[in-house]
Each structure stands twice: as structure tokens, then as C-alpha cells.
Assembly symmetry: C2
Homo-oligomer: 334 residues x 2
């Protein structure tokens, strides 16, 4: 298994950061045209008025992916490219990432937010080698928050501020986690009203996490707050930042999480599977499988008087597993 | 009933905008100290390390309210002042706003987010006369989004960009609303696990709004997305901006919503009660009662071929009322 020299990785990081900035600017420019016409020609203005917002956003999504792909293929012609837009148009739903150097890109995560100009949207670019996300770039241009990381170099907001944000010292996980935690989750697209459907499995899990301690037959987790942003990528970025304590989600894809996983790992967070093993209290806590569509992330945590940071993260994973249902998102090849 | 001349209101608006900027800077400065020590003395650094985040934030909350109150009392000594912090310490939960000129202030909305440095927090300043919010200022300094309005002058983001953001033309409400809408809601603090408690009433309502059309015995609303930010004030600001289509909430207080109502009204939105009347399909849609703790807001909407904007907003109100439960938040004097 080939290992990349740090110097080469540093070059890839610098390239990805620049690419993320230019792609973010494309998202901003396209949004500005919908707001006030931007610096557009008469022809462009008429185009914007004729199309509906959804079509315009699809067009932007495709343009940004084509731009990123072109730049990568020019700079690194030997690397593989997996992008959300091109994948969605393919017939296969197989997991396509292997040990070779691969770029995994979502040109626009939080599409519904972007359509509505709600600032929780971003471009997400990851570089993966040996099936591990090593470089991550997440640019949320309306938020003016730019998250990035390079394996061996740390994780950053706006290139200079180390993640997690609070780090002198990094707080341990709360002693009674999930109580005291901010819990981030998404409702998703599967809204079938059937008792064993994912919507009802999610809701049951959310309510367990939220209900008072002692409620829900002892499963009540009394989290401090429940948040839903509509962007899996930004959920994960905020876990790396230390703003969210726990993110639990099923149904999103590798391009939604690859950059976030790179950043979270480098910031000192933990990510494993959303679906509790049968022996949730004792089973080993395994590294996440990138294409599994099932994710549970815990923020970076420092030691307390009685635990290491990792111990408090693992304790939190088990407390979440105790309260959530298995989700049903299958995936060939992952 | 005295009416203020526009000129006087313009002066109040300019004062409120300046006050909101300075208060927002105080929130930023206090957060920066927790991140990296800021420009602090050794003594301040030791203070930050000794206290926990919650105590530090309570201190900031109180300092910012005291600052705002002092500035207002100096400039407008005849006006009344109702602030979240001072109110919370009082014994009474009565609604205290009447026809006299009154400032209603939340120095920090989204406190839990602020503790965690998640950017969805803000300062909220409203000027109210004859029980109507006439001037609103919401400053979310980490988001670099500053919302403001003055009755008769319009509503703005960052002082120059008119709200709603998309306005050439302002889109009508979707024909099948709530389908196609972004629905914003909060889990709140009442987490009692009792069937008739507010948590279960809220959950049942959320699930009705989210489930597939035809599901939930015909109540499924298939909203496009469900969002929870942890800040009632920003929920409402994003409705005024046009980013959220519907916000439905019970349990927050007048200082959480007064500035947002001023901004929403001036942007062309609608706000009424969260609790459906018995005849939800035919009852008149009344203006919200500021202290009712029950709010349903609909974004600004333009006309379609078959409806005025107001008609499409009212249709949406009734479609929400059809799907939600009554919430139980009592209030003396409102």
C-alpha cells in the first residue's frame, strides 16, 4: 500500500484550498444573480427570470462540478474523480472508491437551502487515498466559514484558526452525555408513513435523545438542543469545530461526508456507524466505513480527571447507540 | 392613541441600528476571549480559564442587557424597557407591554448556540408603540447578517439589501403548500414524556408536516425540509428574508419575537397564532398577539395567476393549522 510523502499531500492541500475558494465564489455569484441580477448582461437577466429557481440551481450545481473536475483532471490526470452530480446521473449505486488516489466532490451540499438562499450550503472537496479521506475542504461562502484540513497538519477554520475552536483546554464530553449535548440530525428525504420506515425510526430515535431523563422507559437523553440544518456536510463541519457534540445520520453519501471526515479526524473527533451493534455496550467501536451511508460523529474531546478524551467519546457513542434505532439504507459494494 | 411622526421613528431606527452593532460587537468580543484569549490581560485570561462556559455566557448576557438599557434610558428616558435578563429574574410572568413607547430587548438569543460557538445567535432590539413592533434590529455577528426594519421604510439585510431577498418578482407560496416549503420549528425546553405534554404535541405536528402526502390519515404535508436552529429570533428573521417559508412555534417570549415581527411585517410576511381555531378552515386569521407565546409566521409572497400574495399566505396558514396540535403555554395578561 503506497503512502504519499507529506510534501505531496501539502501540495494537494494547497490546490484543494484554492479550488474550494473558486468554487465557493461561483456559488456566491450564481446566488447574487437570483437576488439582484448581479453583474449580468440583459441576456443573463432574462434567462434568470424565465427559469425557475430549481432549474437555475441544478445548472449551477452542474457547472461547479464540471469546473472542479476539469481543474483536477488537468492538475492530477492520474487521479480518480467521484462527483455527486455525475454519480447521480449514472445507473449504478455501487461504492466506487478503492485504494487509488481519488477526489470525492459535492459541488453543492444543502441544495434546498441554496434554492431558498438560506446560508447553510457549501461546496465539499475531499482527497482520498487508501480509502482514507486525507484532505478536506468545505467552503460555506454565505457564512464566510471555510473549513479545511490536511492529514498531519491539523484542521482549520478560515485557514488560520485551529479546530476545535475552544482548545485551551479542549472540554471533555459532558459526564452525563447525551444530556448537556447539542444533538444534530436530519429528517431526510424518506418520508414514507410506514411504522418500520426510516422516518419513523429516525423520529423514535430523536425523541429518545430529546426526552427528559428517566422518560421513554429510561431511554430519555435530555440533550441540551436538537439542531437540523439541512446540510450533512455542515453538520459534520460543526462537530469538528466543537459546536455540535453529536451528529447521527443515515441516508447521505460519501461525497456528503468525505471532506467532513477528513476535517473531523484531524481535529480529534470520532466517527463510526449510526447503527447500534447488538452488543452496544461492549462491541468494539470501529472506524466508519466511508460508503456505508450510516454515520455517528462525536466532537473532539479533551481529558477529564477520570477519563481520556477518547474514553469520553466512546462512552458517548454507546449512550447514543442505546437510544437509537437501526436505519435501513442499503449499499452495494461498501 | 398617539402616533409617532415618521421623522421621530427614523431617529429611533438610526439609534437602534447603532445600538445593535455595538451590542453585537460585545458578543463577538466575549466569544473571541473564549476562543483564543482575544486582546485580554493576564487577569482576564485567568478569569476565563477559571469560570465555565455557561457562567461566562450568563455574565456576557447580563453585561449586554445592562449596556443596552443604559443607552436607551439615557437617550429616551421617558420610554419603558422590557429585557429578557431583568424579566427572568423578576417573580412575575405577566405581559408588561401596553400602549406606551417601549423597548423590548433580548441581549442574546440562541444562548445554547453561543455557549457552543455555533453561529446561530443574535442580539434582538425592538421598539414598540401602541403594542405594535415598529422598529426591529437583529444582529447575528458570527453570521455577518444584520436584519433591520423601520415601519414605513422597509426591511433590510446589512442595511442596504431589501427583504425578502428574492423580489423580482417575489415568489408566490407553493400551490400545494406546505409541500415544497421549508418548515422551521424548535424542540424547546419542555421535554416531559407525557402524552399530552408539549413535546409530544410538537412531535406529532412536525411529523404531520413532514410525512408523505396521503400519509398520517391525510395530514401528511411533505414539506421540502425541516429546520431547527435553536434561535426563535433567527427563525423569524429567515422567514422575513424568504429563506424559510413557514415557522411554527410555542413557548418563546415577546423579546424573542418583537424585533422579528417588526421586520417580518415590513417585509410583507404574515404572523398569527400557532394554535388552530376550532374552525381552522373558516375562522378569521387574526394578527398575532405579541405576548401570546404562540406564533405561526409565513414568508412574504407575491401574487400568482390565481391568487394575491395574501391569499396564498392565508391558504398556507390554514394548511398548517389543519396539521398541528394546540400547544399549552399559558400567559397571564397577554
Amino acid at each position: 500500500m503506497a503512502i504519499l510523502p507529506q510534501e505531496e499531500l501539502d501540495g494537494i492541500y494547497a490546490f484543494a484550498v484554492d479550488l474550494g475558494k473558486r468554487a465557493g465564489q461561483m456559488l456566491t455569484d450564481a446566488a447574487q444573480i437570483r437576488i439582484d441580477g448581479g453583474n449580468t448582461t440583459q441576456e443573463q437577466k432574462e434567462h434568470v427570470q424565465k427559469e425557475n429557481a430549481v432549474d437555475l440551481v441544478t445548472e449551477t450545481d452542474e457547472n461547479v462540478e464540471a469546473f472542479i473536475k476539469r481543474e483536477i483532471m488537468e492538475k492530477y490526470p492520474a487521479h480518480k474523480f467521484v462527483g455527486e452530480e455525475s454519480y447521480s446521473k449514472g445507473a449504478s449505486r455501487d461504492y466506487l472508491i478503492d485504494d487509488s488516489p481519488t477526489w470525492c466532490v459535492d459541488p453543492l451540499d444543502g441544495t434546498v437551502n441554496y434554492i431558498h438562499l438560506f446560508p447553510m450550503f457549501c461546496v465539499s472537496i475531499a482527497f482520498i487515498h487508501n480509502n482514507k479521506p486525507l484532505v478536506g475542504v468545505i467552503n460555506a461562502p454565505f457564512l464566510k466559514q471555510f473549513f479545511s484540513s490536511c492529514a498531519g497538519r491539523g484542521a482549520f477554520m478560515n485557514e488560520t484558526q485551529r479546530l476545535p475552536l475552544v482548545r485551551n483546554p479542549i472540554p471533555p464530553m459532558p459526564a452525563k452525555a447525551p444530556s448537556g449535548c447539542i444533538f444534530s440530525c436530519e429528517w431526510g428525504k424518506d418520508r414514507r408513513d410506514v411504522p418500520e420506515g426510516n422516518m419513523h425510526r429516525k423520529i423514535e430515535s430523536f425523541v429518545n435523545m430529546a426526552a427528559e431523563l428517566g422518560g421513554r422507559s429510561g431511554r430519555g437523553g435530555m440533550v441540551h438542543g436538537v439542531r437540523s440544518l439541512g446540510s450533512a456536510t455542515l453538520d459534520l463541519a460543526y462537530v469538528a469545530m466543537g459546536s455540535f457534540d453529536i451528529w447521527w445520520e443515515g441516508g447521505c453519501w460519501e461525497w456528503d461526508v468525505a471532506a467532513g471526515i477528513a476535517i473531523l479526524n484531524e481535529a480529534g473527533g470520532l466517527i463510526t456507524t449510526a447503527n447500534p451493534p447488538q452488543d452496544y455496550a461492549g462491541a468494539p467501536i470501529e472506524d466508519v466505513s466511508l460508503g456505508s451511508r450510516l454515520y455517528l460523529a462525536i466532537r473532539p474531546a479533551g481529558p477529564s480527571a477520570s477519563e481520556t478524551g477518547r474514553q469520553s467519546q466512546e462512552r458517548t457513542v454507546r449512550e447514543v447507540w442505546r437510544r437509537v434505532r437501526n436505519l435501513d439504507y442499503s449499499r452495494p459494494g461498501a
